[in-house]
């Protein structure tokens, strides 16, 4: 996998040894002790900041890591009674976006988000998490349903981009995203947005307008993929690491710019090392976010949302 983060050879060697010991450890006490020692060593190695040579590009690789938990994994780990609803009632059902009502710690909410596929078949079915107009229209339909019944909305963002294809253009990809950007701010219910993987430009933003925007520590959010940025500015893909760093796409960078309100922690080494732990680290963030927003009357919530968007400006006048 070309996308695997360039973890040190040391870590990879340790993983290898652990895997080899795994079977023996079932019956052999010594092997188990050795395995546990190696596991501890690996943990501490991963706890070290991974930003030795290029932090931003490492984050891009972590955000795209093939074992990173996806939206449905978080739904499974954090919510109960999830009832997936399909279709935009206009053209079709886009599997790159999933959503429906569910319960978070007993309380009804609406969850919606991008969904990537795990194996090749799923990847194709989910179109690598790249939504088409019908996906954005489905997301809005579900959000409006939530607003009708007063359910807070939890949006889980993880997409490389909106799909650049012929059919998507024919059906108005630009219009679908634009319309969401105009309609989502009107919803009179709390909008909690969690960018947990890739925040790919307009494809992410099309559902990611919110009252409180959280980004997981190793997620990225960018106006353009570093590869494309490199090919525009340097006319090749060889400067993608540099592009990643100048685009300021990490959670800390965006928090610093005021675009992201909160950075949620991940397990040492990244969410892919322990999806359950990642979800448990996210749980208090969701709980606190929802309860804080729930205390605001709808009128104030919408007003505050517009003010928040209005502040997203840095210019000289």
């Amino acid at each position: 996998m070309a996308n695997q983060p360039q973890e040190s050879n040391e870590a990879r060697a340790l993983e290898q040894q652990i895997a080899e010991l795994q079977q023996a450890a079932e019956s052999d006490e010594v092997s188990r002790a050795e395995m546990e020692r190696l596991q501890a060593q690996l943990q501490s190695l991963r706890r070290k900041p991974s930003s030795k040579h290029n932090g931003a590009w490492d984050r891009v690789l972590l955000a795209r890591h093939p074992s990173r938990p996806y939206t449905l994994d978080y739904i499974d780990l954090l919510f109960t009674d999830f009832t997936e609803l399909h279709g935009d009632r206009r053209f079709g059902d886009d599997p790159a976006i999933v959503g429906g009502p569910a319960r978070f710690e007993g309380k009804p909410v609406l969850v919606v988000g991008h969904q990537k596929g795990r194996d090749t078949k799923q990847k194709l079915a989910r179109n690598f998490g790249m939504a088409k107009p019908e996906g954005y229209r489905k997301a809005l339909r579900l959000m409006q349903l939530a607003a009708k019944f007063g359910l807070p909305i939890v949006t889980l963002v993880d997409t490389p981009a909106a799909y650049p294809g012929i059919g998507a253009e024919e059906r108005g990809q630009a219009e679908a995203i634009a319309y969401n950007l105009k309609e989502i701010p009107k919803l009179r219910v709390p909008l909690l947005v969690i960018i947990h993987g890739e925040g790919g430009s307009g494809g992410a933003l099309g559902i990611a307008v919110g009252d409180h925007v959280v980004m997981m520590a190793n997620a990225v959010y960018s106006v353009i993929p570093p590869e494309s940025c490199s090919s525009i500015l340097w006319r090749d893909w060889d400067h993608k690491e540099e592009a990643a760093s100048i685009l300021k796409l990490t959670a800390e960078d965006l928090h610093g710019l005021g675009i992201v309100d909160e950075v949620a922690p991940e397990p040492p080494g990244g969410s892919h090392t322990d999806p359950k732990a990642a979800a448990e680290l996210l749980r208090p963030v969701v709980r606190a976010g929802l309860s804080r927003l729930a205390s605001l009357p709808a009128e104030q919530l919408v007003k505050r949302r517009h003010e928040r968007l209005r502040r997203l400006a840095t210019f000289i006048s």
Binding site: A162, P164, G165, I166, A168, E169, E170, R171, G172, Q173, A174, E175, I177, A178, Y179, L181, K182, E183, P185, K186, S201, G202, L205, G206, V209, Y221, S222, V223, I224, S228, C229, I232, L233, W234, H239, E242, A243, I246, L247, K248, L249, L254, L257, I259, R305, H306, L309, R310, L312, A313, T314, F315, I316, S317
Partner: protein, 290 residues
């Protein structure tokens, strides 16, 4: 080598000869006819022979639409602060300075207030020569302020888009402008003030995926490239050639994304007529006769 051996290399066309009248003549890319620049200007930058619509500067746009070309410019001096301190092969600051020098503008958008066939309106025009008309914080802020003025004064809004999309050099800050401007348009909608979006060649990316597609009317000039993803990106993704006319105004009209294609010469009259119909007295706009 046989006598009938074919040259492998295609014959190269001779390099265009530089003539002394350089700058006075221009060649139409569509009908390949040489055009006298003054003729082109007099014809609102449309080819007198094939009616191909050439790009116009933001200033020429405002000149063309406002009565006698008279307008008051708003929000001058709003400039990019280079929030990311972006530097690739060249510093973004230097790119900005160069664009400012070449266009005489602070950023890629010009806002004017004035009369359009006697009706007071606000018009924003994008300047493609300024870093491909891309939207960063300055453009986003200027449009938002124009919307605020329209709400406060119940003035119709016209935005003429001409942009490659969000400005890469301002990263996610540019991306946020899409949300900011679109949310402001939701407030304009609530105030029932008409907004006409005029899409010109090209309107793509973050601009088409925000305010350009959100007009009460979305009208386009003939033959303009309009879409979310640029054609090159789609070709690279699909690894196939795109059909002729894909993502052109006529294609969008056929797919239900535009209200009309309006040739440049009819634009002013069209906008005026529509505003007269929508902004009737007693609704939201003002009575042009008053």
């Amino acid at each position: 080598m046989s006598w009938f051996h074919k040259e492998k290399q295609p014959l190269e066309a001779p390099k265009a000869k530089r003539v002394q009248t350089e700058g006075l003549w221009i060649k139409c890319e569509n009908c390949k006819q040489p055009l006298w620049k003054k003729d082109l200007e007099a014809n609102l930058f449309c080819c007198p022979k094939c009616n191909r619509h050439f790009r116009m500067t933001a200033r020429d746009r405002l000149q063309m639409l406002f009565d006698e070309g008279v307008y008051t410019e708003h929000d001058q001096g709003i400039r990019s602060s280079d929030p990311l301190h972006f530097k690739d092969t060249k510093a973004y600051r230097d790119r900005l300075k160069k664009a400012q020098r070449e266009t005489g503008l602070d950023d890629a958008l010009l806002t004017g207030e004035g009369l359009l066939e006697g009706r007071r309106v606000i018009i924003c025009a994008m300047e493609f020569q300024f870093i491909s008309g891309s939207m960063g914080a300055a453009v986003g802020e200027k449009i938002t302020r124009a919307i605020d003025r329209c709400i406060a004064g119940k003035l119709p809004l016209v935005i003429i888009s001409c942009s490659a999309g969000a400005r890469m050099m301002e990263g996610a800050v540019s991306l946020m402008q899409m949300a900011k401007v679109s949310a402001a348009l939701a407030r304009l909608e609530e105030a029932r003030v008409p907004y006409i979006s005029v899409l010109t060649d090209p309107t793509t990316g973050g601009v088409s995926a925000s305010f350009a597609m959100l007009g009460d009317l979305n009208i386009a000039e003939p033959g303009a490239l309009i879409g979310f993803a640029g054609p090159r990106v789609i070709e690279q993704t699909l690894r196939q050639k795109l059909p002729d006319g894909f993502q052109r105004s006529e294609f969008l009209l056929e797919h239900g994304m535009l209200d009309a294609i309006v040739p440049r010469k009819e634009q002013k009259g069209y906008v005026s007529r529509v505003l007269g119909l929508l902004a009737a007295p007693g609704a939201s706009g003002e009575d042009p006769a008053s």
